[in-house]
Symmetry: C2
Subunit: 183 residues, 2 copies
């Protein structure tokens, strides 16, 4: 089941990435496409909307992303856990992951990489700074367009802890009244 998505302010994508979910990164370069599973990322700025990500040069996606200077960060939930694990344990050099994992590639608006329709949110990214790519495989992307399903408001995202174990996002609590500065 997939839900219709709406445009979402790129300056607010922390809502989905800051809690640390495992994400799926889609890429495309010269007709080659791929999807990788990624857990090492952090929000870095609201405006421009920056996200820093470690993408190992051992991954098939590395060259696609470095050469195209683009990708899409897709946020899966618990229902996609087995596909997420499968994607992380196969190489795009061997298989077409959209086909193998029965995921739908929707066209993005601003980048060549595809939006994964079955994910709750899709963030179109352009490479913003590659200063630390050589040394740490660390890419800083700008989110240039965000698509988010209208519901549910809070997701059962999956968070990796190593050793094959995932933490599933639990309940939410508000402490809004205790914030004195920005939220």
């Amino acid at each position: 089941m997939t839900r219709r998505k709406r445009d979402f302010p790129v300056s607010q994508i922390r809502r989905y990435l800051e809690p640390g979910p495992v994400v799926l990164v889609s890429s495309c370069w010269k007709g080659k496409t791929n999807i990788m599973t990624m857990g090492w990322h952090t929000v870095m700025e609201f405006t421009p909307s920056l996200v820093g990500c470690v993408i190992s040069s051992a991954n098939y996606s590395f060259e696609l992303i470095r050469n195209s200077q683009e990708c899409v960060i897709n946020v899966p939930t618990m229902t996609l856990l087995d596909k997420t694990v499968g994607i992380g344990n196969t190489s795009g050099a061997d298989v077409d992951k959209f086909t193998k994992f029965e995921l739908t590639a929707d066209p993005a608006e601003k980048v060549g990489a595809a939006l994964i329709r079955e994910c709750h949110a899709n963030f179109e990214c352009r490479l913003h700074d590659e200063a630390l790519v050589e040394k740490y495989n660390f890419f800083i992307f700008e989110v240039v367009k965000a698509h988010v399903a209208a519901s549910p408001k809070y997701l059962q995202t999956v968070h990796y802890t190593g050793d094959g174990v995932f933490m599933i996002a639990g309940k939410t609590v508000s402490r809004r009244a205790k914030f004195v500065r920005g939220l």
Copy 2:
């Protein structure tokens, strides 16, 4: 209640940081100490054990950390949520946060900043690379010593989603059998 901690392999601290919890960063420089709440961080490497963190120059902690080139990343759980929010909403320029929030400063082994006893885990960090500090407030630290309470194995960490709302870590699920390469 605080539990006795034991040494933990620094190469395995992803276990605690990769799921994206809000953490408390303690710092010390020339007799000044502080604690800040931080949500923008990512694991970057196993060995050396690297963690990248955004620490805004607007924070009182920024100068303490930049000058001392050290800090401790402490992992709080749900029981410390209100203190964690309070720490994020006060400035070390105005108050001594250890006193105000009734937290215990235990001496670290390798850095001058204190371990927060009430946190489940404490990671002593030395600045590893400041190449992106000026441009993005992005510090790359090496975890040089890790202290972790023996139980519980999985924590009710808190994960920020913006707007004053936190997600609390839920249940865990294993997919270990589906991993074909490293875990």
